[in-house]
Symmetry: C2
Subunit: 314 residues, 2 copies
Amino acid sequence: MSFSLTVLGSSSAVPTSGRFPAAHVLNVHERYFLIDCGEGTQIQLRRYRFRFGKINHIFITHLHGDHIFGLFGLISTLSLLGKTTDLHIYANPKLEKIMEVVQPYFFEHPLPFKIVFHPTGSSKQQTIFEDEMVIVKTIPLKHRIPTTGFLFREKKRPLNIKKEAIEFYDIPVRKIQSIKSGSDFTTAERKIIPNHKLTLPPWKQRSLAYCSDTAYSERIIKYIENVDILYHEATYGSDMKERAHETFHSTAGEAAMLAKKANVEKLIIGHFSARYKSVAPLLEEAREIFPETFAAEEGEIHSVVQKRIKRGDQ
Amino acid sequence: MSFSLTVLGSSSAVPTSGRFPAAHVLNVHERYFLIDCGEGTQIQLRRYRFRFGKINHIFITHLHGDHIFGLFGLISTLSLLGKTTDLHIYANPKLEKIMEVVQPYFFEHPLPFKIVFHPTGSSKQQTIFEDEMVIVKTIPLKHRIPTTGFLFREKKRPLNIKKEAIEFYDIPVRKIQSIKSGSDFTTAERKIIPNHKLTLPPWKQRSLAYCSDTAYSERIIKYIENVDILYHEATYGSDMKERAHETFHSTAGEAAMLAKKANVEKLIIGHFSARYKSVAPLLEEAREIFPETFAAEEGEIHSVVQKRIKRGDQ
């Protein structure tokens, strides 16, 4: 059961020879969520061997070019590859308008699939996607134009029934569901077997908060507290603090401070300015405040392993 | 004095992990002409170390996405890098309309430089650029939508005066120009020195014809005859001849046949369909007809060396 983020692009607006503009794939149980779609996303998807047919949900944080210029090429390619299933795009409602305007110019024929737009607001948290395994909510961010981060969280998982207990106590199938929900089991001999002898605690709900582009803002702590992975932009280092503030971006130190205050497990910084040939100084700056920091790098996969909830913490 | 073509993208509409969509840089005497601007062009320009400040002329063959989706990101980056000089774009007039429509959505602020559009027609040859060293003309192509190839040719070069002759005959500066134009020189002793003793023949005018996307068409032979480099699309091999014809593309064999009939020096085939993991079979198919064929590959530079015109051929 995967929960892993692959970085496709770690650059900010001006890409470098090695860094592509913003794009990431989150794999939650083989659901592939594309987060941002900068120029070259389709090329990176190819390079890291993602199957295009698996891309059905695209989350766009905001409508700056470095987060959307890969969308037209990707849609064009999906069309050429014969996609017929719906493509869901979660973005500021203006994107639907843009697509309407460019469609007759950018795409030769009517698309063979439907684009379903899901408008995001940036003033308060909304639930924008939900199925039996995962829920996605917005995170209002603080940038020059309306911008939303995204919180991906696994849904509450049931208790895991032990296979050997089913055999040992000869548990009938009709009882499985109630035991998974926490019930004890009464044997044919009227003996009550307590639930904790029959089950393992459920898997912990894993989560990722994606926050880019944004100025430092403690107002988002309530949305991102205790997540397994916080992806937070760090366009600049503290050497460029003023420039960061003017442009509503964050420094590596600020991203780390937020990670620390929100008590997250792991921080990934990205969206690096082209001025940094090496991002080692940014990583160092962040690690002084929050040691579990990693720098986004094209092709790197950050996985969250499954852990069981401790009894009593459920 | 350079005359060299760098391939930035050798793919057709659907890029692969190694092949980018169409984009090329022609360097003529340190003038950098960008030909087509597929998605990822700015990333490839970075990778192959072209200075963005040198990109002032962009030639677009036609308005299919794989030839223009890199334009928005490139313009955005030029803007962020503070470009102030004019950017000249040579393209179908519809591109100006597209830019007008997308500008308010795609670019945060008014651009700090002017985009000067030069409309291309696709029915007859036009001269679209000319300076003291080079002239660029269109080549009407045969595709699903209006498409023009481009012919880049050095202008006629003067005779090269031999330095040692200037010294030996004590030639005054005021005589240099007329000798370069072919005049003989009369010494102070009234001796006539014939021009061929004073000069070397001029450099040959080098040329590149860029023909993509297009179906096979012998009507363009008159425009491309004897060029040093013919870049011609070969989206498919002869195994896909029908598909090529349906979509107004060419096979490798057709590109080679045209190169042969037009008596060019060297053929580069490109714009390869993603179906070919290796383009070796396409290269082989072309070389059977025209041995001096090369397959476009990202980062490869095809230079035309300077050669002197033979006396009598001037």
